[in-house]
């Protein structure tokens, strides 16, 4: 080997070693003893369904951190994960260390109690039966509404492409099915099959199924379909900021989704009990409920809802209790009609 080759070799060896050391140092930095923050903070592990991400990370968590610090002087750290309600329910059943979970539908809370993770109906001990906030289901269409969609019925026209989240993993998808079925049923109360017909007509046109309401919206924004059925909250905040690429169509009849908080007692260290209880209480307090309203959720406290002038008006709103609650609706409508009749008919 020539002398120059040797020197070049040395140089590249030294560069490689320096590079590896540099990357290693960068990677391990936060875990080095001297770079740690002084007092280890207390931690709350929170799992939430997909559309909660902004309001929790930007609004509720910081507000509670401030309140707790003012009260006790301690720092609270939130470790969180957001995905479809069904996905996080499965994760919790598999044993993720969640302290609390805000689920998009009570049905997932029932699944947790069936799996023995929480006591049956333990969420009912909280205010409003465990419901933290609500939002109606709406239709999002392309700017200018080129396909002239004015209600759920218009979605059954041939040639319309609908983006719908997947009921297997998404709570929002289950709400959407109830909205579609309920709108049909209430629109023509005399005819027994009206709900089923509307649901079938809509599902004939579903062109994409995403794992959560949030990812369904991402698909829609990437150009899939003519209409998206989703939470009002999901699109409202962007519309307020003038960033919404599309228009909200308010159906005459639609469901209000109700989002249930569960506390996974077996994952909570007795030392943290007081902190968790305080956070649970905080979720129903006026400051937190105001935050939900400002991020487009409807508060469980009706008088706060007047504060957000962007909320649309719905002629005939309904809730899951109109169907006798989630366990019954799941059996009779989600499984009985959607899964066993409509999916069969569509051959999916």
């Amino acid at each position: 080997m020539t002398r120059r080759g040797l020197i070049g070799r040395r140089v590249s060896q030294v560069t490689a070693v320096m590079l590896i050391t540099g990357v290693g140092l960068y990677a391990i930095w936060p875990w080095l003893p001297f770079s740690r923050a002084a007092a280890p903070p207390r931690t709350i592990i929170f799992y939430g369904f997909s559309i909660l991400e902004e309001v929790m990370n930007q609004g509720v968590f910081p507000a509670f951190q401030e309140e707790w610090r003012a009260r006790t002087g301690e720092r609270v750290e939130f470790v969180s994960s957001f995905a479809g309600s069904g996905t996080i329910t499965n994760q919790i059943i598999m044993g993720v260390p969640a302290d609390l979970a805000l689920l998009s539908l009570e049905l997932d809370a029932y699944r947790l109690s069936e799996a023995g993770v929480v006591r049956e109906a333990s969420w009912r001990r909280f205010p409003d039966g465990g419901v933290v906030n609500r939002t109606p289901f709406i239709i999002l269409v392309r700017p200018g509404n080129p396909r002239e969609i004015d209600d759920f019925a218009a979605l059954t026209r041939p040639g319309i492409g609908i983006v719908h989240p997947d009921p297997l993993t998404s709570g929002g998808a289950n709400w959407a099915i109830m909205a579609e079925y309920g709108a049909g049923m209430r629109g023509d109360p005399e005819r027994p099959g009206a709900g089923r017909d509307l649901l079938l007509g809509i599902w004939k046109n579903v062109v994409a199924q995403a794992s959560s309401a949030r990812s369904a919206r991402t698909q829609f924004e990437n150009g899939f379909g003519d209409a998206l059925i989703t939470y009002e909250q999901e699109v409202l905040r962007d519309r307020e900021r003038g960033r919404l690429q599309g228009e909200i169509v308010y159906p005459k009849r639609t469901i209000f989704s109700e989002h249930t908080l569960v506390v996974i007692d077996r994952n909570i260290d007795p030392v943290e009990q007081e902190l968790i209880d305080a956070f649970v209480q905080f979720l129903w307090s006026e400051p937190a409920q105001r935050l939900f309203v400002s991020y487009g959720f409807r508060s469980v406290d009706e008088k706060l809802n007047a504060e957000n002038s962007f909320f649309g008006w719905i002629q005939d709103p309904f809730t899951i209790s109109d169907f006798g609650g989630w366990p019954r609706a799941k059996k009779e409508i989600i499984d009985g009609v959607w899964k066993n009749q409509i999916l069969q008919e569509l051959n999916r």
């Binding site: 080997m1 080759g5 070799r9 590249s12 490689a16 990357v23 290693g24 960068y26 990677a27 391990i28 930095w29 936060p30 875990w31 592990i45 997909s50 991400e53 750290e77 470790v79 969180s80 994960s81 957001f82 995905a83 994760q91 059943i93 598999m94 044993g95 993720v96 260390p97 794992s211 959560s212 949030r214 990812s215 919206r217 991402t218 924004e221």
Partner: protein
């Protein structure tokens, strides 16, 4: 894919006239398949301007995800460098019944879908898993913690080290080894002073390949990590969450960084292997 340090070999000379058509055909094929998709990542990463890119990159969860990914990739590379070399040594130097079966099993992770790796780890170590159920009462829980992520990465990247070392060991002339044994060297001494120096290039490339694969691992990690931000969220999981949340610019900022890191890794690999060819 072959990053073996190859024997010196005559390379054809550069002839512009003869080269133009085949090379431009290759580039035309690569453009839509590889180059444009990568370009799109960078375009979206920088669409909000440099300040937005920097803000996305320095967000605490993004920083955590990047560091955590690099750390896991390094530990994975080191552990699998040792395990892979040991496996290669055993498979290459010992003959035993069931040898072929072991050879197949250690290469399986290449073929098994990573999602299946994740589920099987959960069903073994998870709180309701075969072994995990006995650990759970003691408060030991490998899943949904960095250990779980590491286990998944060790599994998924196991064959890469083995794949680079074993052919080298197989091809190595046995004369020096035999000479070492005749003058009374132990197996360890022979390995340390005869084989290891010959394997250095392979160790380097194998470790880099393992590192690169670990850095990009998604399917198994998403299941075993619980996807907890600031705890177990790796860079690819962060990218996916941000993409799902519709934050394309944030997702692509991190994606761009990962793409650059991978580019650097393979740049070093190629330079290294070419350097060996030249010397």
């Amino acid at each position: 894919m072959n990053f073996q340090p190859a024997a010196p070999r005559a390379r054809p000379r550069y002839r512009p006239m003869r080269t133009f058509v085949p090379v431009s055909t290759l580039l035309l094929v690569l453009l839509p398949l590889l180059l444009l998709p990568l370009a799109a990542v960078f375009v979206f990463a920088f669409r909000g301007g440099l300040a937005a890119f920097w803000a996305a990159l320095t967000a605490p969860d993004a920083q955590f995800a990047l560091r955590f990914s690099l750390l896991i990739a390094m530990v994975t590379a080191v552990i699998n460098a040792v395990l892979g070399t040991y496996t290669a040594y055993i498979l290459s130097k010992y003959r035993f019944p069931g040898e072929q079966a072991v050879g197949i099993v250690v290469n399986l992770p290449v073929a098994i879908p990573t999602v299946v790796v994740g589920t099987s780890l959960l069903l073994l170590w998870g709180p309701i898993g075969l072994l995990g159920r006995w650990l759970d009462p003691f408060g030991l829980q490998p899943m949904f913690s960095p250990i779980g992520v590491l286990l998944a990465h060790l599994f998924v990247t196991f064959p890469y080290m083995l794949g680079t070392i074993k052919p080298l060991l197989d091809e190595l002339e046995t004369t020096y080894e035999e000479a070492a044994y005749t003058i009374g060297a132990t197996r360890w001494q022979t390995f340390r002073y005869i084989l290891l120096p010959a394997l250095r290039g392979g160790l380097f490339t194998g470790a880099l390949l393992t590192f690169a694969h670990s850095l990009g691992e998604f399917g198994a990690t998403v299941l075993v990590s619980g996807n907890l931000r600031l705890r177990t969220q790796t860079a690819p999981l962060y990218i996916f969450s941000q993409f799902e949340a519709g934050n394309l610019a944030t997702a692509n900022a991190i994606a761009a960084v990962l793409a650059v890191v991978s580019f650097l890794i393979f740049f070093f690999l190629l330079r290294y292997t070419n350097g060996r060819k030249g010397s």
